[in-house]
Each structure stands twice: as C-alpha cells, then as structure tokens.
Amino acid sequence: MVFSSHIFLAYFLPLVLLLNYALPFRWLTLMLTVMSYIFYGWANPPWVLLMLITSYVDYFCGLALVKYSGLPMDGPDLPFLLKGTSRNLGQKVALGVSIFTNLAILSFFKYYDFAAESVNAIALGIGMPAEIAPLLHVALPIGVSFYTFESMSYAIDVYRGDARPLRNPIDYQCFVALFPHLIAGPIIRYHTIAEQIRSRAFNYEKFARGTAFFCLGMAKKILLANPMGHVADRAFAASGLGPLDTWYGLFAYAFQIYFDFSAYSDMAVGLGLMFGFCLMKNFDDPYHSASITELWRRWHISLSTWLRDYLYIPLGGNRLGESRTYLNLMTVMLLGGLWHGASWNFVIWGLYHGLLLSLERRLGMRGIFDRFPKPIRVAGTFLLICVGWVFFRAETLSQSVQVLRSLIGLELTSPAASLASAGIHTPYYLFLFATCALIVWGAPQTWNFTQRLTPVRAVLCLTLFASSVVFLWTQTVNPFLYFQF
C-alpha cells in the first residue's frame, strides 16, 4: 500500500487511527502489527511470509544470545548482555545466523539476477556458454532492503549489549513491521524504538505535529516530486537532447528524488507521531551541503548512520591509518550504492561518492570548493551530487555515458528532441521547477516549519493536503522512488 493512494488515505488510515484511539493500550501493539502486515501484504500477500521468517529468525537469535550468556531469563524483562565482555561460541553462532539469514534473503531477492547476468557476461567474454547461471527474474519484495537492515540491527544491538532482547514476539514484529517506516524508512534501529513500543504518549500536540508532517510530505510528493518525475522521465528517455534540456532534466530528477524521498520520510514521521512514535530525521536540507562529507550528514541520515555504526566502524573506521580509512570509505560507499540496487550504475554511484569522500578527507575534511564563498560551495557540491544522480537514474551504463555527453554538448541533437523538449518546457512544469528550487534553497524544512504551529501554518498544511489529494486524483499510480530499493 502506498501512503499517497486512495485506499490508504480514505480507508486504511482512518481505520487504524480509529482502532488506535479506541482500543486499550495493551492491544495497540498487536493491532499495529496486524494492520502493518495488511499494509505490507496488500501489494503481494505472500511477501508477508518472508517478513515473518526474517522477524522470527532474529527474534529467536535474540533469545539465544541471552540463553547462551547464562544470564537469568526469568524476570519480566530479559537482561542486557554485558558490554565489553567477549561472547561465547553459541552467541557468535546466533549472531551469525541472524546476519546470514538477512543477507541471504537480501542477496537472493535483490542480487541474484544481477550476479547471474554478470557471470554470464564474463562467461560469454571468455568464450564459455552464454548462460551458465540461469536468470530467475525474481520479483523484489517491496522494502526488503529496509526491513532486513532493521531486523539485523536488533541482533547486533543485543549482541553488543546496546539493547535488551524482547521476550514478547509481538513487540518484536511490531518493531519490524510498523507500517509508517516499513517500506522506505527511515531505517529504525531497534534500540531507539524499543522503549516506545512498550510505552508512548498520545496527545493533541503530537497528533497535530504529525498531521502537519503528513500534509507537507503529501504535498511534496504529489505537487512537486511527481511533476518533476514527469520532466525527468522524459529527459532521461529522450534521445539526442541538447545540453540545456539535459541539465533541466537532471536538475528535475535531483528535485524529484529529494522531494519524493523526503516526502516519504516526512509522512512516516507524521504517521509515527499520530501513533505516538518519534522516528528519526532522515533529511536535513541536503542540498545546502557545502561538501560531499556534509551531504552524507544530511541525506538519508538513517542509512548513513546504519552504515557507519554497523559497517564502517567495525571495519576499523579511521582508526587503522590513512590508506585503510580510504579503503573503508570506498567499501562502505560501494556497498551503500549496491544497497540501492543491483546494477553497475549503483556500484559506480557508490564508488563516485566514496572517491569524493576520500578526496575531501585527504583535503582535511574540507570540500573541494572550500576556497570559495558559501553559495559557490553549495552550488558546486550540488553539481557534483547531480553528476552522481546521472548514474543513479540512468537504466544502463551506456545511457549514463550518453547523458553525461549530452550535458557537455558532445551528443548530436536529434530532430525529434524538440518534441521531448516541448513536452517539458510548458509554463506549468517550469513554474513547478522554479518552485522546487525556491523551496530547496529558500524555505524552511518540514522539521523546522512544523516546530511552531501557528493558525496560519495549520491552515496552510490542511490546504496543501486537500490540494494534494485533489491533484492525486488526476495522476496515475506513482509509487515512491525508494520503494524499488
């Protein structure tokens, strides 16, 4: 189910809100879990089974971690594992099972075909039979990258002694399946939400803030991201566009992905608040970044935090010397790229960011444009980000190269390019493009805007929400970009 769909807005959300505020607290976790499974299974019911498998493997691994510790398990709550002590073989196996299961599920559904294609291409290149690894055309379960990472974080947190294992499986399932963040994040780490599952407050203040978040997220998605997606789709699909049109399409994509993804995060945070949860901030004015290092503190914060805590630091971080730090950075960004999708384009996108991060670290944690005034630093960084988006958006490596060539005028302009150009140069799209730029660099972000809710702001939120619903009805189904990851 999609937040911006008719069935979610008109039926599912009112129903879950009604249940949430009508049932006693002790029933809420179960209710939210069941409704989250309905939410998730709506697109493809059998995928719920996959999520259940993941959840229960990690849940039992959490129990095993305590059991093999020898700590007492008879209290109302299971104990924390002691920090700073070594773990025994049973505990290591339990953690290994959790990590292996999650990575195996992720690898099979997300990377099998990509690996098979690559193996076949290599085989063909060295004269072997063309299809030594059969393609399975496996459908990617929505949100699998998000919930496997979240579920894995539970076992790791318990293993490290950062979180208390759960006795009640329903509580655990609720953490994994909680529908506001289920499909496209923010990636919630178990220890940050554990207490909220057991106890959370409901009040008008929270609900109103959640409403404001949701309304603004919806407006970002419907009024800005989707029209920019139309422009970007046309520009990326076109053949032989001129440089100006290509830049226009690329910037439109930069706006689309930001408004689309941050819209989802805003709606997730908003829904979380309506149900009493405080989820984490996922975007912090990313296009205000004056360096790539800064970008990764502002963009998809929950993913970069996850990668830092569960990958970069365990790899040694910056503690093992300069060259090892660069290697760790490249490894983390490469895997971060692959996390987004199984294609060489994502590998290159990840390496590109890893390279820029390493370069900035080499320059002493300063941006490449550090000698220039702030507006130029921000503009330069935005251009670097956009060059990366070419690989992120293009279907293939050859298309990426073609777009890059178009950007600098090396591609021949096609006679038919005027048709693509005419379709995206209408006053409507140009106006929205300018509005996006104005909001990105001139308007307060959702977190700040909703921090102080005046009557005018409240009316603005409701008006934007109503307008978004109305415009939604003229648009076709347009799921969030991050659903595919």
């Binding site: 006679p415 150009s421 409507y428």
Partner: protein, 566 residues
C-alpha cells in the same frame, strides 16, 4: 588559506526525539488541525458510503468481503483480487470522479496540461504521450530501453509473459508465413507526433522523425523476408505540402489520408508481390458520408461530460459498397489477402469507435486491390491479439490459401505492446502448390472443420481452469475489453458441444468499469450460455482482448450469460 569550515553536525535519533517532543502549538490550533485533517480523510469514503446507501446500492467498501463470504478465503491472499477491489473503490467514488474531471478541465484550459496519456498541443490539437515517447525516445531496441520496458511490464503485471522486443515474434511470424508461401507486408502506422510535430511545437524539425532504432528494425524485418511499407516517409513528405492528415483530437488518421495510404499500399503490393486476378471481380461504388464526434484523446482527458473545451470534429468518410450486394464491402475469410490490424484499420468501420461504418481501411484497401480482404483487426491488440486470432485453428486452416498478409500496427506499439512469439499451430495444412501459385478457386478451398457448436443456445457447466489477466480500468487503451478463459466442460445442459475444453471470452471491462465477470477465479464452477465468438455482435470482433490461453485449437466462444454455481 581560509579558515576550515565547520562541518555540519549529523542529526541523531536523540535529537529527533527531543525536537519532536517540543512542538509549539496552542491547544485550540492542535485540535483544529487534528480534527480538520480527520475530517478531510473521511470526507471521501463517507460521501461515497452515504450516496450508495441513498441510491439503494450495496456500498462498494463491503466488496472486499464478497470472496470470504462465498467461502473463497484464499482470494484475500490474491493480489489481483485486492487490486481489483482497490480499483473499484477509486472508480466508484463520486467525489473523486467529479473533482478529477473538473480539475482536469481547469488544468487543460488554463495551464495547458494534459495527463499521462494526452499532451496538449497548439491550436486545439491533442497528441498521444506514448506516441511522443516513441518518437523522441532513445533507441527502442537498445539494451537499456528493452530492460526498462521488461521491468515496466513485469511491474504492471498485466502481461503474464512479457516480450518487450518486437523482433523475435515478428521475425518468427514472417518466417513461418514465408514457409507457407505467404508474403508479408508490414505497415507500421506513424504516430501523430511524427506526422504533425508542428502541432506540438513551432520549433519542430521539418525532417522525417522517427525513433533511432527504427531503421534497424526495418532492416531486420526485411532480412526476415517482409516488405516494410514506409508510411512515415510518405506521410511526412505529404504533410510538408500543407495538408492535414490526422485528426486534431484523435490518435487516428483522417479518412482521406487513410484512403490514400490504402492506394499506395496497393501500388506497393503490385510492385512486390503481384497478385493473380481475384476469383470474383469486385465492383464497388462509393458514398461520402459526414461524421462528427469528439476524438479519443478528448475522452482520455476524462473531462466533464458537458465540457465545452473541445467541439466535435467533423470528417467526410468514403464508404465502399459492394455492388453485387449493394451493402458495405464486407470481409471475406476466404480471401487470398489477409489484413491484420488494430484501431487504425477499424476507425471508420467499427461502430464501437464512433466514427461510422463501411469506410474503414480494409474496405479501401480491398477496393484498391480489387478484392475483399480477410480482416482480423482488434483495437489496441495488433501486436499479439490479432496474430493470436489469425493463428486459431479455424483461421489458420485457411492459411495455405493466402498469398499475402498485410500487418498493420501502430508504430508506438513497438515500444508499448507485448509481442509474444506465437508459433503456428501444430497441425500444418497440406500444401497445395498449385493453389499457392495461382488464384485459389473458392470451391477448392478446404473449409475449416465445422465448429464444435452445432445447436443454439449452447449452455454448459464447467470449471474455470485458466483466466487471462484483467485489464486495468483507466489504464487500458480502450474502455472495453474481452478476457479469455479456458473452461473444463463438465456438463452440457443444452445444445451440443464436443470435447471437454472450451475457450470462452467474457466482456470483462465495459466503459472502463470491470464487470461482474472480473470477480471470477480459476477453480470457479460456472454455468455459461455461449455462442461462437465470430457469430457474436460485430462490436466484439474488434474489441481489445487479453488472451493468455495460448489455445489455437478450440473455437472461441463468447459468453452471453454466466452464473456462478455453488
């Protein structure tokens, strides 16, 4: 060196919690915002619910319980069932329908914005977005484009067996036909944006526009043995003389240009595959008839019924009459020339399309070739549906008597349609060389086996074994659709039916609404009243279809009436 810039501090989970728990809002504002939001949320379902109750209808919201109440609990785990329910909720919302139409009207009138199908051109012209995407898009045979289309087809899940690349299916089809001594002429009909790009933008090139992959496509088809008629080149050179060849608000060609293309095709046929004289000389007469209606692109905009933005467009179509019968020239299944096509073939002959009858492409082409044609044309389904129909046994048995197959399809089908390879049926007809080389006297043409149906009305009870995918209302090319099913016949109630398998076609989408037959599922036992599809009303012959039965043996039947058996 400037001082080091402090790097932005990363926001933490603790920061988020602190920020979210410190909202400045007055209690009255918080209440107003919360309740206002809830009111907006329930406005849509509540208005629909009350209206349906007031009209005495069963509220749509309860439809999700129909399957479990009927004992079909497993349907709740069927994504198609859930998707159909979701669509029915959307489509049946009166508030949504009203707002959508009126907002589209405002956006079209004041902002010049169409929708995902329609692009607003200049001077009242409308263009078809998938057509523009084809022309302006990257090489449609490129690996990236094919991969993206494959992914899109899988995501849509309308096609069970997606084939985005048209070449394998077409090349195999051409080779199969050539093996039966049937020549093939392909007629990719140009999209409107290729013909009249100046109606979209004044900066349009005067050069012929086409997708970069088209030349490769033509070369491969010619290598497979087909002749590809260059309608795009001819059309573009003609339009540069100042003529208007396509309808302003419709995706299709104007009737006079369609007639000229038919004449040009006849010329090409004479050049490439001279046909023997027809068995029966065709004498025709013509009659001009004026027709007036709103184009299909206006309908795709889904404006209010009483919209005044677009006035009906008028054309003068030329009807072709067979003087021997004094009736509009009809198709002849025994003709040595067969025309496969889509709505470009049907536009002036299919009453369902609203532009009149008797003046279609087949009639004009038949007149130009001096013989009636065997016509199989399905709206929106030239890529696979028309071939499927042609390959059904009853048709395919006529194959050896054919000399030429003309395959008309819309050029943007190359990037939007599913091109499933369909091998010829296993029972090959006996070759009759003399008949292949010369005109096939009508009396020597072996007739297809009599259909299984020998009495009407035919009523059977059977169990559905396989159902073709459902069309998605509002996202299909046309408002009506037939869906095919394979039924295991368990009992013949009346009439006579030989065999225990029937291929049946349900009218599954009518005027962009799924009909009751859309609720049927494999495993359901149904009581059916049937008639052979070819004897069903003409409107069903050319209707858009979804058919994944891959059954070319059984004569397809049209479901006149059905009822589920307990």
């Amino acid at each position: 060196m400037p001082p080091e810039t402090p790097v932005h501090r990363k926001h933490t989970e603790e920061d988020s919690q602190a920020e979210l728990n410190s909202t400045e809002v007055r209690p009255a504002v918080a209440r107003g915002l919360s309740w206002g939001f809830l009111a907006l949320l329930i406005l849509v379902p509540l208005s629909q619910f009350l209206l349906e109750i007031a009209q005495g209808h069963r509220p749509t919201i309860f439809r999700v319980f129909e399957a479990p109440l009927a004992g079909r609990w497993t349907d709740l785990a069927d994504r198609k069932y859930l998707a159909a329910y979701e669509t029915s909720l959307e489509k049946s919302s009166p508030l949504r329908t009203w707002v959508q139409a009126n907002l589209q009207s405002v956006m079209t009138r004041w902002l010049g914005v169409g929708n995902h199908k329609v692009v607003i051109g200049q001077h009242g012209w409308l263009l078809y977005q998938p057509g523009i995407d084809y022309v302006a898009g990257a090489d449609f045979l490129g690996r990236g484009a094919l991969g993206a289309r494959m992914k899109a087809m899988k995501d849509r899940e309308v096609e069970r067996d997606p084939h985005p690349d048209p070449r394998p299916a077409l090349a195999a089809f051409i080779r199969d036909l050539r093996a039966h001594h049937v020549a093939v002429l392909l007629l990719p009909v140009p999209d409107k944006s290729m013909v009249h790009p100046e109606k979209l933008t004044a900066e349009a090139s005067r050069a012929a526009l086409n997708n970069p992959g088209y030349a490769r496509f033509v070369a491969e088809m010619e290598q497979a043995g087909a002749v590809v008629f260059d309608a795009a080149g001819l059309t573009r050179s003609t339009v540069l003389t100042g003529r208007t060849l396509y309808l302003a608000q419709d995706t299709h060609w104007r009737p006079e240009w369609m007639g000229e293309i038919a004449t040009a095709i006849a010329g090409a046929v004479q050049r490439h595959f001279p046909l023997p004289p027809p068995t029966r000389p065709l004498v025709t007469s013509v009659r001009a008839e004026s027709r007036r209606r709103l184009g299909d692109l206006v309908e795709m905009l889904a404006l209010p019924v009483d919209q005044s933005l677009y006035a009906p467009e008028e054309v003068v179509a030329t009807q072709i009459f067979d003087q021997s019968t004094n009736r509009p020239l009809a198709a002849d299944p025994d003709s040595d020339v067969v025309l496969l096509g889509d709505s470009f073939t049907n536009i002036y002959s299919d009453p369902g399309l609203g532009w009149g009858e008797g003046a279609g492409f087949a009639a004009h082409l038949g007149r130009a070739l001096g013989r009636p044609l065997h016509v199989i044309a399905q709206n929106g389904a030239a890529s696979t549906g028309a071939r499927q129909e042609f390959l059904r046994t009853e048709q395919a048995r006529r194959l050896y008597a054919k000399k030429l197959l003309i395959y008309e399809f819309t050029i943007h089908d190359l990037t939007t349609a599913n091109w499933r390879p369909l091998p010829l049926p296993p029972q090959q007809p006996k070759p009759v060389p003399a008949q292949v080389e010369t005109a096939a006297p009508k009396q020597t043409v072996p007739q297809p086996t009599p259909p299984a149906l020998v009495a009407v009305p035919l009523r059977v009870i059977g169990q559905i074994e396989l159902l073709s995918p459902l069309p998605v209302p509002g996202r299909s090319a046309y408002r009506d659709c037939l869906a095919f099913a394979r039924v295991k016949v368990t009992k013949v109630i009346s009439g006579e039916y030989k065999g225990d398998v029937a291929i049946v076609a349900f009218h599954v989408m009518k005027d962009n609404q799924l009909t009751d037959s859309a609720a049927l599922r494999p495993g359901d036992t149904v009581r059916l009243e049937l008639q052979p599809l070819r004897k069903a009303p003409e409107i069903y012959q050319s209707m858009q279809r979804t058919d994944t039965t891959d059954d070319f043996e059984h004569v397809p039947h049209f479901v006149i009436h059905f009822a589920k058996e307990p």
